[in-house]
Amino acid sequence: MNCPDIGQIKFSQTSISAINDIRSRQLFSNTLLITMGAGTVLTIFSLGSSLPETSYSLYSTDFKSMSNAMSSVPTLTKQVISDIAFRAQQDVKDYKEKKFWEAVYEGCSGL
């Protein structure tokens, strides 16, 4: 969809709740990234004093798995934001707010 030119917008309580919901999910997303990173980094340090073969195995497998998982987190976050945006778009009454949440859900390009 084309990016809407909404102008001044006053958010209702429904929208504010949805925005807070998105903020908290983004925190979850950051936590997930930290959890994956910390886990692997801890493993690297643990293996630092171990045999070189084991270190090679860590590089080829563990990092690949961490990297794939990390690249999935923005996708997951986007999916969660879409769900919240859809719910908000259905619940709000104001036209501008509806447009706002629709653009968040669908994404937009150009003007």
């Binding site: 994956m36 999935s72 259905q90």
Partner: protein
């Protein structure tokens, strides 16, 4: 000499155990990471579906617009959770295994679970609202095949005149 051999032997055994433990932990982490990728891919596959429901889909039902909107939201979240159920279950298992395998695991993993099951929570909310609709109307909605496959919810709501 015996004492030195014993010390050497103890260090050798400890280093093997340490390496085994690290491998055990890294396997748990890898499975956890792989399960995240699977949840993301499963969700993406369903959400890429841009199907818009036909505008006359609810014409034969004598339900209010609010009830139709509730049904639309319920089936939207149902189709997405149906798609991702297996991947989410695998994730939750991998998350539990990882938590038990990793004594030093960051405490935020429970929060991370919240991100993964978020759509299931939305489905639960939608289901509670849906259950307020009469049995007769729910039976009618349940018979509409188009609602049981992923669809684009906002565009469909517009097509159905519910927006």
């Amino acid at each position: 000499m015996r004492k030195e051999i014993a010390v050497f032997f103890s260090i050798f055994i400890a280093s093997i155990c340490f390496a085994e433990n690290s491998k055990y932990l890294s396997t748990a982490i890898n499975r956890f990471n792989e399960s995240i990728v699977k949840v993301g891919s499963a969700g993406e596959k369903c959400r890429d579906e841009k199907r818009v429901l036909p505008g006359d889909l609810f014409d034969k039902i004598d339900a209010s617009n609010d009830e139709k909107k509730i049904a639309l939201a319920y089936y939207y979240f149902k189709t997405i959770t149906d798609c991702t159920n297996d991947a989410v279950k695998d994730y939750l298992l991998a998350s539990a295994v990882r938590m038990l395998a990793d004594k030093d695991m960051p405490r935020g993993l429970r929060d991370a679970d919240g991100l993964i099951v978020s759509t299931h929570l939305e489905f639960l909310k939608a289901e509670i609202k849906y259950n307020t609709i009469s049995d007769e109307h729910r039976k009618y909605f349940a018979e509409i095949k188009e609602l049981n496959l992923p669809f684009s919810p906002i565009k469909s709501a517009k097509a159905l005149g519910l927006n």
